[in-house]
């Protein structure tokens, strides 16, 4: 087991293994997303209160889930990188940031589109769920600009890891905001006492979308970590050999 983990953390091994795994993550993820989209849009029954507008849930919830998942992955990786000085962990954190920012943007945008017909407004300043999610978008931007501002990779790793760990307090705030404060946003549908409060014909496409997007995210993350590894190892012998053989 340790031998396997040690080998996995070795950059050339990771670089080759990730390339083999990416297509599998992509294919399984896209199949689930295709099923979830078709079933969610056409086969799930309309909501008795929201009518067909509720179908936005199939785009909105996976995006919101990933926006927080990406941040959690970054915080854990940043912690591992700081404590055990593992460079691959810092590479994972750096690779997850732009993806997290994209999915946070998607969660905010689809939420806004959903809010217009349901709440009568695109945006409500001061609403705890909306505001804490927007703060997370700014944390992603702050993380990326901090990294871009520091030339030396090891210094950028440390400084940005501290930023992401301090900002991690925002993740539980987002999750519990709808319970702690009064919010326009509806309460939790899936993760709550007594199990999911949703009919199975609506639930299965949603679970498929969440799982599918997680796999798709996994493929993107692996691809971006490969780019990070290439950059960090640019002066090593194995990268030199790799680039020269592939360009020949």
């Amino acid at each position: 087991m340790w031998k396997f983990l040690h080998k996995l953390a070795s950059p050339p091994h990771f670089y080759a293994l990730a390339a083999k795994m990416i297509p599998w993550f992509n294919i399984s993820g896209l199949l689930l997303i295709a099923y979830g989209t078709v079933a969610g849009l056409f086969f799930a029954p309309a909501d008795y209160q929201q009518g067909d507008a509720f179908r936005i849930i199939y785009a909105h919830v996976p995006a919101a889930y990933l926006s927080m998942m990406a941040y959690s992955i970054m915080a854990i990786s940043a912690g591992i990188g700081l404590i055990w000085r593992m460079k691959l962990a810092h590479a994972v954190a750096a690779a997850a940031a732009p993806l997290g920012a994209w999915f946070t943007f998607l969660a905010l945008a689809t939420g806004s589109i959903w809010g217009r017909p349901m709440w009568g407004t695109w945006w409500e300043w001061g609403d705890p769920r909306l505001t804490s999610e927007l703060i997370m978008l700014f944390l992603y931007f702050g993380y990326m600009s901090l990294r871009a501002a520091i030339d030396e990779t090891s210094k950028a790793d440390k400084a940005s890891a501290v930023l992401i760990l301090v900002g991690a307090v925002n993740v539980p705030i987002i999750h519990f905001s709808v319970e702690w404060w009064s919010s326009l946003h509806q309460g939790p549908t899936l993760i709550k006492e007594g199990g999911p409060a949703i009919e199975t014909a609506m639930l299965y496409p949603l679970l498929a979308m969440i799982l599918g997007f997680s796999l798709f995210f996994g493929a993107l993350l692996l691809a971006r970590v490969r780019t990070e590894v290439l950059h960090r190892e640019r002066r090593s012998r194995w990268v030199r050999n790799l680039v020269l053989t592939e360009s020949a």
């Binding site: 067909d52 507008a53 785009a59 998607l106 959903w114 780019t227 680039v243």
Partner: protein, 62 residues
Amino acid sequence: MMEIFAMGKYGAYVWSSFALMFMVMIACVVQARSRHRKMFRQIESRLKSQALSEKNGHRSEN
């Protein structure tokens, strides 16, 4: 048949949400690929210029 695409009176909201979702997916893939290619080319051109200067008898540290 057209009815199921109409989404009641919410067609514009539902379809724009899903259009945005697919656009973000495509953007993520395109960005990841172009960054990787760019990184690869950067290293490639550095190695080539290094090899060239070594051939000419200069040693460069880069």
